[in-house]
């Protein structure tokens, strides 16, 4: 009888230790704050369609068995990465487990609403080879609400600011025109990105890390740390700017001038790859009022410029030292000036019901190149 009692106590204690460590502890310790990038379903006026009801239909029809809603570091071309705070209002969670279909994290605005609707009714009419079942049995209201929901996904993870390469890399000068005339690589194609991936792995990953997060093995020994390419700032880079950076290196850091070692073609392939690195939906602070204040700690006086993503963040990384841009060029995320977006050549992104123009040119390019 004694051994039995001991065992029973053992079973109970083990179980509660585990419940404590994996159920209670995350509930207490893991409380991500809601951020302003989570899906906002009230965006679409209720008299057009009800996105919140659309979410219920998404759940009811079991879309999450085949579609996930979180981007991973290695998912190039699926838009910005997600943060824990994005999911605070999402319950039941629709993270999903299997990707029999594409990821839908940043689906909003990627396709026109008419396209989405046609795709729900007969997927193979708009996407030959799709194995998605037809949802033609949904009634008009359900269908509209579901589309409204899809159009709300991820549309607040946007890139705002914009930077330019030096003149000799742009078509404003004869040198730039000549450069572009010599260019044979399609920097928007998946194939080019895959070619660039090999070049990146061989040459860049030692410092920049496999996923471009700036955590390669060499990075520990560098005084000026390599940047984290998943930061939204880098998604503003034009092809020319990437090409300029890769070619000329960053003065004052260990970033070499790759013009010495790589051919022009190889560097363009690299650009194609670098553009497909995922984006972290990091919150960049525009203004000191947005910081959570701790009363008894006196914050040092900071100018906007010091908080600007070029200069701040990542341990004084390589970016700021080389370029001589005036402060006026440093536009802040969240600033009221309308962002000068790289409008993707395809127009599908702009014809949604509510007239959203998706500023994530990156995602749109993917669609163009692939789907």
């Amino acid at each position: 009888m004694h051994s039995y009692r001991l065992g029973a106590i053992g079973i109970v204690v083990t179980f509660f230790v585990i419940i404590f460590s994996t159920v209670l502890m995350p509930m207490v310790l893991f409380n991500p704050k809601p951020n302003d990038r989570s899906n906002q379903y009230s965006r679409i006026p209720k008299n057009i369609a009800d996105a919140e009801r659309g979410r219920k239909i998404y759940v009811r029809e079991g879309c999450f068995y085949c579609h996930t809603q979180f981007t991973r570091l290695q998912d190039r071309g699926y838009g910005p990465l997600v943060k824990a705070g994005d999911y605070v209002w999402e319950t039941p969670h629709q993270l999903g487990t299997a990707r029999t279909g594409p990821d839908l994290t940043n689906e909003g605005g990627r396709m026109a609403s008419e396209w989405q609707k046609a795709h729900l009714i007969q997927p193979r009419a708009v996407k030959p080879g799709s194995i998605m079942p037809s949802f033609s049995y949904l009634n008009e209201r359900d269908m509209n609400d579901l589309v409204a929901y899809l159009q709300c996904l991820g549309n607040r993870r946007e890139v705002h600011a914009f930077v330019e390469a030096p003149d000799e890399y742009r078509t404003t000068t004869p040198a730039g025109v000549a450069l572009h005339n010599r260019k044979t690589v399609d920097t928007n194609a998946s194939a080019s990105a895959n070619a660039g991936r090999g070049i990146y792995t061989q040459n860049c990953a030692v410092c920049h890390g496999l996923n471009g997060l700036g955590e390669g093995p060499n990075a520990t020994a560098l005084e000026k740390k390599p940047p984290n390419f998943s930061r939204p700032y880098y998604k503003q880079y034009s092809d020319e700017f990437w090409f300029y950076r890769v070619s000329e290196g960053v003065p004052g850091t260990r970033m070499p001038r790759w013009i010495e070692t790589l051919t022009e073609e190889q560097r363009w392939y690299l650009v194609a790859y670098l553009k497909t690195l995922p984006q972290d939906s990091e919150i960049t602070i525009n203004n000191l009022n947005q910081i959570d204040k701790v009363e008894d700690i006196r914050l040092p006086k900071l100018s906007n410029q010091q908080y600007e993503p070029h200069h701040g963040g990542h341990g004084g990384h390589s970016e700021g030292s080389g370029d001589n841009m005036s402060p006026s060029e440093h536009q802040m995320p969240g600033q009221t000036t309308p962002p000068a977006t790289k409008t993707p050549s395809s127009t599908t992104g702009t014809s949604t019901e509510s007239g959203t123009s998706k500023t994530d040119g990156h995602g749109a390019e993917h669609k163009e190149g692939g789907h």
């Binding site: 585990i18 460590s21 893991f30 759940v59 068995y65 071309g77 039941p92 990707r99």
Partner: protein, 430 residues
């Protein structure tokens, strides 16, 4: 008592784009977990525990009642899930009423078994009883925590609890009861004593310690806290310890008696199950490591792994238990040995085919994601594998039909107990 053994073993044919696949999928998962495996498990436990304790079941009327409650749940699940009345939580789709019914039934089953064990006539607890005791304590709690019916947690916490439940329905219920059944069946069928009681205890406590925290490895690449991921990965790898202990014990028990598996059909099912258990449990920890997960997650490989565990391991051991216990309960021989053989081969070959096709499909998909190839391009590439999977599904369903038919014929004096599930399986297949 026998009524707890019920059969609905649906398998989905996914080679053609199917009307409302997600609804079928919901029902498939719930019918397999709640319907086939859980009911079969409880039925077997109701047989094994009294045998091991050399006493009668504490309350047989309660046992029958839980059986009917459970069947009612399954009918309810059939009606609701196929119409899309779901909570939208994977593995926990059932609505609030059904949730409560399952939980109550589980608690009553646990009560029944605990009272039986308290009234036992043998002093020492056999290792199977340890497993049953543990599972019946853990699982009702895991089930109640995991359903989250009446709470709305923030998204990621919902996911953490969801996968705590999603993995522990395997770890604290299917695995522990299944392994307990293996401990019961192998020595019985081979007429040999268990190789080592000490090893079996090590295996039991190993599973108890390391299984429960592994759930987070399903969301290893989502923004949940790193420490939770670390716990999940480490305990997933540690799981190799109890698994190998348990299997060493089984294989040493089988030593010198492997030949018996050729002639003894229930034993053949049990040994096949052990083999698949080895494969699934070596595969599992590797998949849970970050870099393998990086490549393989989200693909059909994982689906193959899930089928390896539920179909290859636990469904086989359950069939073995039924083939073993039914003649002893009814005092009749099985209607047809040939049908058992046919069941075995259809299920075995069907499953091998399914596993192979899913695994290859998973690798194709992984490559697709790793090289950033759009989904609609590789989805055509894996169509042949889905077709194969469809064929294998038909084979397995056919095997299960033969099984159901065989059981029904064996107890034709009580046709009510099995006629309904056979019809259910037919509907699911259609």
């Amino acid at each position: 008592m026998i009524g707890g053994l019920e059969f609905s073993m649906p398998d989905l044919v996914k080679n053609v784009p199917q009307l409302a696949f997600p609804h079928l999928r919901m029902f498939h998962v719930n019918a397999v977990t709640i319907g086939w495996l859980s009911m079969g498990y409880v039925g077997s436990v109701f047989h094994m525990v009294p045998t091991l304790c050399k006493t009668k079941l504490w309350n047989e009327r309660l046992g029958n009642m839980t059986m009917w409650a459970w069947n009612l749940v399954l009918v309810g699940a059939f009606c609701t899930l196929l119409n899309g009345n779901t909570e939208g939580r994977e593995y926990a789709e059932l609505g609030a009423v059904l949730d409560v019914m399952v939980a109550v039934a589980l608690v009553l089953v646990a009560l029944n078994i605990y009272m039986t064990i308290l009234n036992r006539r043998v002093k020492k607890l056999y290792v199977s009883l340890w497993y049953f005791l543990g599972s019946l304590f853990w699982f009702p709690l895991v089930y109640i925590i995991g359903q989250r019916t009446f709470v709305a947690l923030p998204g990621l916490n919902d996911a953490i609890i969801g996968w705590f439940y999603g993995h522990n329905i395997l770890g604290m219920w299917f695995t522990t009861i299944g392994v307990g059944m293996m401990y019961y069946l192998l020595p019985r069928l081979t007429q040999a004593p268990l190789y080592s009681h000490g090893l079996s205890m090590l295996g039991f406590w190993g599973i108890a310690l390391f299984y429960a925290p592994t759930g987070t490895h399903h969301i290893l690449q989502s923004p949940v806290p790193e420490w939770l991921k670390a716990i999940a990965v480490i305990s997933s790898i540690f799981l190799l310890v109890p698994v190998l202990t348990v299997l060493t014990n089984f294989f040493m028990t089988m030593k010198g008696r492997w030949g018996m598996a050729v002639t003894d059909l229930p034993l053949r099912f049990a040994v096949t199950s052990c083999m698949f258990y080895l494969v699934t449990c070596v595969q599992g920890p590797f998949q849970a490591t970050r870099w393998v997960n990086w490549y393989l997650h989200f693909t059909q490989w994982v689906v193959g792994h899930a089928h390896l565990a539920l179909l290859g391991t636990f469904s086989f051991i359950l069939s073995s238990a039924v083939y073993y216990s039914l003649p002893r309960l009814t005092g009749r021989e099985f209607y047809s040995q040939g049908l058992i053989r046919a069941h075995y081969w259809l299920k075995f070959l069907g499953f091998l085919l399914m596993m192979t096709s899913l695994t290859i499909a998973g690798l194709v998909q992984s490559a697709g994601w790793a090289f950033n190839i759009p989904v609609d391009q590789w989805s055509l590439q894996i169509r042949p594998y889905w077709f194969l999977r469809g064929i294998s599904g038909i084979m397995i369903v056919l095997g299960q039909f033969l099984f159901a038919y065989n059981v029904w014929k064996t107890l034709y004096t009580k046709p009510a107990a099995t006629a309904a599930p056979a019809a259910k399986a037919a509907e699911v297949k259609a």
